[in-house]
């Protein structure tokens, strides 16, 4: 496998086939926990860890599993990984665990985890699967953090509020109060804000992609013209 192959996997996971913006998988946790940057970051990290563990494990046991029973096996592996991550989070980040609550165990049902297991890890080697797991997780985290930032700024006028939940004492200094005496735009924090925000982010991503395509299409033409001249 060449270098560019891994880069391609990374690019696919984070941007081209982003779970949140393109595949629209795992929308329940994405919409529910993205009301602040720290919540988004916490769930993103947990999901990335789960994706990495599952992809590696499933890629390793690939020769032992008959295709007929692969889905139950995936579910078992994912459930184990999620339980491990949940227990670790409960032990080391109790504050964040309290905030995210049910959404950590619910990573089991996140379709992007089983989706990557089925579509990638079951067909590829360990290293590639690991890279894919990290890339997909980072893509999901990107969606969570962007949406969380938009909703937190609009809704509370802060950024990285309650960062101590994730970073300990050090995090208290990270919180930015962008607008003093902000009344709060409740809609952004409430569920409709998540849907509207996600819609806007998807639209922005599509615009960026369309612009990139136009530029790519224009490039050969201009190169041709330059060659003719």
């Amino acid at each position: 496998m060449s270098e560019s192959g891994y880069l391609q996997i990374l690019k696919d996971g984070v941007w081209t086939q982003n779970t949140g913006f393109v595949a629209l998988l795992g929308l329940c946790p994405l919409l529910a926990t993205s009301n602040s940057v720290v919540n988004g970051l916490g769930l993103g990290l947990a999901t990335t860890l789960v994706l990495l563990m599952c992809n590696v494990a499933i890629s390793l046991i690939r020769p032992l599993v008959r295709p007929e029973v692969r889905i139950p096996v995936f579910v078992l592996v994912i459930a184990c990984a999620v339980t491990a991550v949940e227990l670790a989070m409960h032990a080391f980040l109790p504050g964040l665990y309290g905030v995210l609550g049910i959404f950590i165990p619910l990573i089991v049902t996140n379709c992007c985890v089983i989706g990557r297991a089925e579509a990638f890890a079951f067909k590829n080697g360990v290293v590639k699967s690991a890279v894919d797991g990290i890339a997909t997780g980072l893509g999901f985290m990107l969606a969570l953090v962007l949406l969380g930032a938009i909703r937190e700024i609009l809704g509370q006028g802060t950024l990285l509020g309650q960062a101590d939940l994730l970073f300990g004492e050090f995090g208290k200094g990270l919180t930015l109060h962008l607008i003093d005496d902000y009344r709060g735009f409740l809609l952004a924090i409430l569920p409709p804000g998540a849907f509207i925000g996600l819609g806007c982010l998807i639209a922005i991503k599509n615009v960026l992609d369309a612009r990139a395509r136009r530029r790519a299409a224009a490039k050969p033409a201009s190169a041709l013209r330059a060659a003719e001249a």
């Binding site: 735009f185 409740l186 809609l187 409709p192």
Partner: protein
Amino acid sequence: MRRFQTITSPHVLLETSVGQVMRRVLYAMLPGVAALVWFFGWGVLVNLAIATAVALVAEATMLAARGKPLAAHLGDCSAVVTAWLLAVALPPLAPWWLTTIGVLSAIVVAKHLYGGLGYNPFNPAMVGYVVLLISFPREMSTWLIPHGVGQTQALTLAETLRAIFLGAPVVDALTGATPLDVLRTKMGLGLSVAEIRNSPVFGLVSGHGWEWAVLGFLAGGLWLIYTRAADWRIPTGMLGGLALISTVLYLINPQKYAPPWFHLWSGAAIFGAFFIATDPVTASATPRGRLIYGAGIGVLVYIIRAFGGYPDGVAFSVLLMNIAAPTIDLYTPPRVFGARRG
């Protein structure tokens, strides 16, 4: 070779345009707006002015961004109608940013992001109103006491402008709850409807002052129906639905449920029935469907008022029935002439 000149239908053209209908809606709102200005002061007019200005700027910006002709779309006044419908529903001393956010949500999000006039599934003015209602409950429930209740002096224009643009605090004695608010809170305290209605906020039929605004909107609405700018079926359905359910519950327990005439005559019932629910874009399009659509709004309004968490529910009901409108249309197609019944 053809012997006769043939033209496709329509053969009889009605000289109406979108702009004409929209302007009629604006004219029809004038009597009700005048009553509101009389009882609640300059704030109503200032709100209308802010909303109109923001709506025109937002509409022009979105049209330019979408590459649509500016003059044709701005000239049809649809943005102004949306702005007015929203502004009339706002408290008279709503801060300027409240009005601005509401109008921007209505024009930019609810109208243009869904494809512009004719494509929006939800009533833009009501989307703007609901965004404000759930985001800023405190600002949205600070209403002025109508002129003539208590011994308060009306605010001057300068005082109104200071309150709206600079956020100057308004004397507490000037603000108060709306009649539907009073009904809800006092009902929670266990008082009966008859006791609550002794409160000075209430007038002959519903709220003091409010009832004249309702009368104005009723007059304007009837004129809209007379000129066929609005279909009679939607207000009939809505007021009929509201009257039916409120009568039934009033007959069951007059102590606990307000009489039907109070429900019909308070809050946004009349205004909503004639001006908001009749929006031709988001309402049901078939004749029978319009009756069902209206009745659905009426019943939902009553359910939200009597059992829900908000004092009035016209905006929520209209949005909920907007979702249902395509399905209603699907099941109520008009009979094609000559087709068999049943």
